[in-house]
Amino acid sequence: MSEKGRVIVVTSGKGGVGKTTTSASIAAGLALKGKKTIAIDFDVGLRNLDLIFGCESRVIFDFIQAIKGECTLHQAIIRLNIKDTDGRTTEGKLFMIPASQTRDKTHLDLVEVGAIIEKLREEYDYIICDSPAGCEDGALIAMHYADEAVVVVNPEISSIRDSDRIIGHLDTNTVLGKAGVKMPQNLLITRYNAVDEKDMIPMEEIQNTLRVGIIGVIPESKEVIASSNVGLPVITKQNNPVGQAYADVVERILGNDVPLRFLANNKKGFFRKLFGG
């Protein structure tokens, strides 16, 4: 590989907004597009990413053990073979490192995590860091080495407020931020209900408050929970709007300009303005 891998942190501040769902779908989506991708679960003590990937039973070693040298890095990596409804597979392209369930976030060490990320950059095209909730050490370490951030936000006041706080940390408490470089940040609005739009905080207001570009809007759907429960990233459901919306997000991460879908009709004008389409 000529170029080093790109580190993307999926973060939000608030819990339950869809970070893990998003991490799993973006990682799987990039792998389905042929990019060698690894997802790291930083939520030490509240291990979830392996459940969404349906590989809980295959977890032997974990991220903390790899950090502490209790196993090799490769022993902690799980290879995943996931198939989507269009028949594409992630064969040989999708990997993950599970979090430790028995330790807590105090075991994450900034320098040691940095060494692991550097090793992974040599081997993978994309490294997806699934951040824990909160704005303490766990979340700060997950974002520290990122080249880019996906900030997951629900159209709801506390989520927007927490995202604002997290974006402040992305700007100041990361390698890029400390070097005075503006980290590319993308807003991903999840659980967007196009039917009851009037009950949500309007997208203009989210954009005005956070002043960060929107990389996607994921509609609210039961399919998200249904997929999680069977251990499949929802992006594999290419016959469902949620899966298609995540596929669009992956396209945009790869630099392809695709229009936003699954919004109520009256919002089209606004997005056309936003993306100049």
Binding site: D164, R165, G168, T209, R211
Partner: protein
């Protein structure tokens, strides 16, 4: 050539004026101040002004230690002449009595008005001296929830929003080119003439030198408008700019 140079300079220093010599109350108020603006006291040079309050050296030492414990650097004392010996005991400078300073200044002004040639001389001297213009602090972007920006000894300009849960403070004026949704405190160290300008006004709180208005007490007419916040005689005024 000389290797060092002694240069006169005017620097703004925060004075903490002790009004009553009750140590618990003093400690409590310093602690309250620190709770409101945790980063403010850190490294801040401070002069303790006891004005005309009668104090013992134990009391002064305790106040000095309290201020130090919050990271501030007390370096001088003001007050009646007996403070001088306490200052030397604590290895601090004695800077005279602020009340008598004021009296002296008025007197010298009277003198110059009597003697025109002297005033012309002193004016010339002034114009030759190096004038240090305080530099405005500029924030090129958003101030986000949990962030606190302090423009020490100068004005503050924020090009983006001051979001909910954030705080901007300045010893001078505050200009916000985006929306003010958090807290803004101007004239922090005793300037009643400081103003706060916001392009889109929807604050949690605005403060000018200790007097404040919270959102509940702000008329809805000025919300989301371009406004200028000023203070006259302990009252905060909010005017929309047309």
């Amino acid at each position: 050539m000389s290797y060092i140079r002694f240069k006169g300079g005017m620097t703004t220093i925060t004075n903490i004026v002790i009004e009553v010599a009750i140590i618990d109350k003093v400690k409590e108020e310093i602690s309250d101040f620190h709770a409101k603006a945790p980063s403010l006291l850190k490294g801040m040079p401070i002069v303790l002004d006891f004005a005309d309050v009668e104090v013992q050296s134990d009391f002064v030492k305790e106040v000095v230690d309290t201020i130090k414990s919050y990271g501030a650097i007390p370096f001088g004392l003001k007050g009646q002449i007996q403070i001088e010996s306490i200052a030397s005991l604590l290895n601090l400078s004695y800077l005279g009595n602020s009340n008598s300073n004021k009296a002296k200044r008025v007197k010298s002004e009277e003198n110059t008005s009597d003697d025109n040639s002297l005033s012309a001389d002193s004016k010339l001297e002034e114009s030759n001296a190096e004038i240090e213009v305080p530099k405005t602090k500029i924030v090129n972007g958003q101030v986000r929830s949990g962030q606190q920006i302090y423009a020490r000894g100068c004005d503050l300009i924020v090009l983006g929003n001051v979001n909910n849960g954030s705080e901007v403070l300045a010893d001078g004026n505050i200009h916000i080119y985006g929306a003010l949704k958090g807290r803004a405190m101007a004239g922090l160290r005793g300037d009643d003439d400081a103003v706060i300008f916001a392009n889109n006004f929807d604050p949690e709180m605005v403060v000018i030198n200790g007097d404040y208005k919270v959102k509940e007490t702000i008329s809805s007419e000025s919300i989301n408008k371009q406004v200028i916040v000023t203070k006259t005689e302990n009252t905060i005024n909010i005017e929309t700019v047309i």
